[in-house]
Symmetry: none
Subunit: 184 residues, 4 copies
DNA sequence: AATGAATGAGATTTCATTCAT
DNA sequence: TATGAATGAAATCTCATTCAT
């Protein structure tokens, strides 16, 4: 991607994660990106489209990262462990982006409805691996969709917990991973 | 509380849950409440204060509801079970308010920081019961704060899952309760 | 109509006739009307809707004025003479509004296409009276639509001519009327 | 003229006639001309100067075309007939340019005031031929300036009428010419 | 000769808030 | 107690123009 464009995107993540979508102004994003306001509109159609690009690049980053890392094993439980570690690491490393995603999951704006659709696809992706684990006998057969939700929710709340600690850790500890998987 | 005032509060919950805090305008809230815009300012100082009242009355409602219901038993595990059922029921019955709470937990607006403080108090409240359970030997001793977080997160994700089903259930099933408690 | 609203409409005619639709800013209209910019939006949805109201009230004014005046006679030629006098008088009295109408007849903006539709209805109206004259033997049968166009065009160019004179006259002279009718 | 430059001028006529002066953007003109936006500024000082060049080349084209064609006769009435045919033909062939001229005659922008001056020169030119006709006894002596206005106005309205027909004709018919001249 | 990324002044529009009634 | 006309600060967005290449 063009350097200025990705620069703007990073600035937007920074500002939006701090302020939320609406209070984050184009002026602030421009200032943070060290470009003129007009430049934002040279690269993006609207504030909404900056938001969408932000989310899309975030989600595809997760997917690519995970797909790359699970190649090393064929064992379904091992794969789920790898996915967990990968997502937790990403949540820590790109906490601002995740804050935005979580806070925008609610509400009936097109922006928010679209985001929910995208997150449902992420759920599909995770559920597929949980199904593999069930088929391989690691978990007992059950509502795998709900399990995927709980898995994701557990990751989020764990992350939120650690993110709020005074001395935030910046990596996914093995303890956290086991804690989350034990809930499945 | 004055009837007009609670009327406005209900209208605000309706509109804010649908649109989010910022896109919900005072005009819309007034229209939904069937009062003139000026009336909002007769009863509330500002939009922000409507929001705060909304949250405060929601949270104290939870607390009162729970304190009332757990009276029937002294057994800590029974009490946690009752709390779970109560919260789940409230989440279903007042889903709009909870949507607002969850979506406003993030970000650095005064409004949002204040909300997080209030939710931390709710966590204290829940943690206290989890500690009782640990002391009574129901769970093994561990990070009870994280347990409280996970417990609350599990409830939220479970609720979100069921709220998104085609045929939403409108009560807390015993299955859900056991599912959540088993994760502790 | 509300006083403030008609006040804004008059200010808009003043400014738009001087500057044209696009260069006329909402700031200037507000200043001319002695109200705050927000007030414009309290009474009108948009700049476009101010324009539309401006045109609509102008056109219905023409129609009402004419319908009122032609009541006095049943003779078709007399009626056409009355219409001519009425339109010319209006063009002189409300020259600013007519300037706007003429300048906005061209182009493919929705605003302009709508205006052309409205002016076509005015043409229908005029043509009807020309047809009466033809039927009564005042003119020889011919393309009455073209006659209506020419009639209107003649009125406009005559008006433009007199409006550009150093010492503008402010009424429709009988000479002008006969000049225009002689062209039919 | 340089090919790229005349290319830009044609593109500008196309876009401005469709949209009007202000809504026509330099971006659109550049796109229509298949050049980069910077190229517009390589050949023209500003948007305003593109407009002026557009008009000037249009007007001098009329003048040259007419001066060329009236050479064939010395009879003043014949010359006026030739002028009428020439202008009507041009109006049909370059209708977009004429649309722009007519729509920009109104208003007090420098651009528009300049255009009116130029059109007044065209009127001088036409009036001169009408005076010749009067002197040769073809019309009775009268306000020749007004006659020139009416003559031009008649041509415009006739043109507008035929341009709006379902099946537009693309040439000046002899009927139209006689119709216009008979009004003098 | 030609480009297109970058700009910033200025446009339209929104909306929480005020205040006279 | 309740109203709603009026406000103005601040938001998003547009676009003619510049300039380094």
């Amino acid at each position: 991607m063009n350097k200025t464009k990705s620069n703007i995107l990073m600035a937007a993540i920074e500002v939006v994660s701090k302020k939320g979508y609406h209070p984050a102004t184009m002026d602030e994003i421009a200032k943070e990106a060290n470009v003129a306001k007009g430049t934002l509109y040279y690269y993006f159609e609207s504030k909404e489209s900056i938001f969408n690009d932000m989310i899309d690049s975030g989600i595809s980053m997760i997917r690519e990262e995970i797909l790359e890392k699970i190649k090393v094993t064929e064992d379904s439980m091992q794969q789920l462990r790898i996915i967990t570690r990968a997502i937790l690491t990403l949540v820590f490393e790109r906490r601002n982006l995740f804050k935005i995603i979580i806070s925008q999951l609610w509400g009936e704006d097109i922006r928010q409805i679209e985001l929910r659709k995208k997150m449902n696809e992420v759920m599909d992706f995770i559920e597929a691996y949980i199904i593999n684990c069930v088929e391989d006998g690691y978990f007992e057969a059950a509502n795998t969709r709900l399990k995927a939700f709980n898995y994701f929710g557990a990751m989020m709340t764990t992350a939120v917990y650690y993110l709020n600690l005074e001395e935030p850790i910046d990596h996914a500890s093995e303890t956290m991973i086991e804690e989350i998987l034990s809930q499945l």
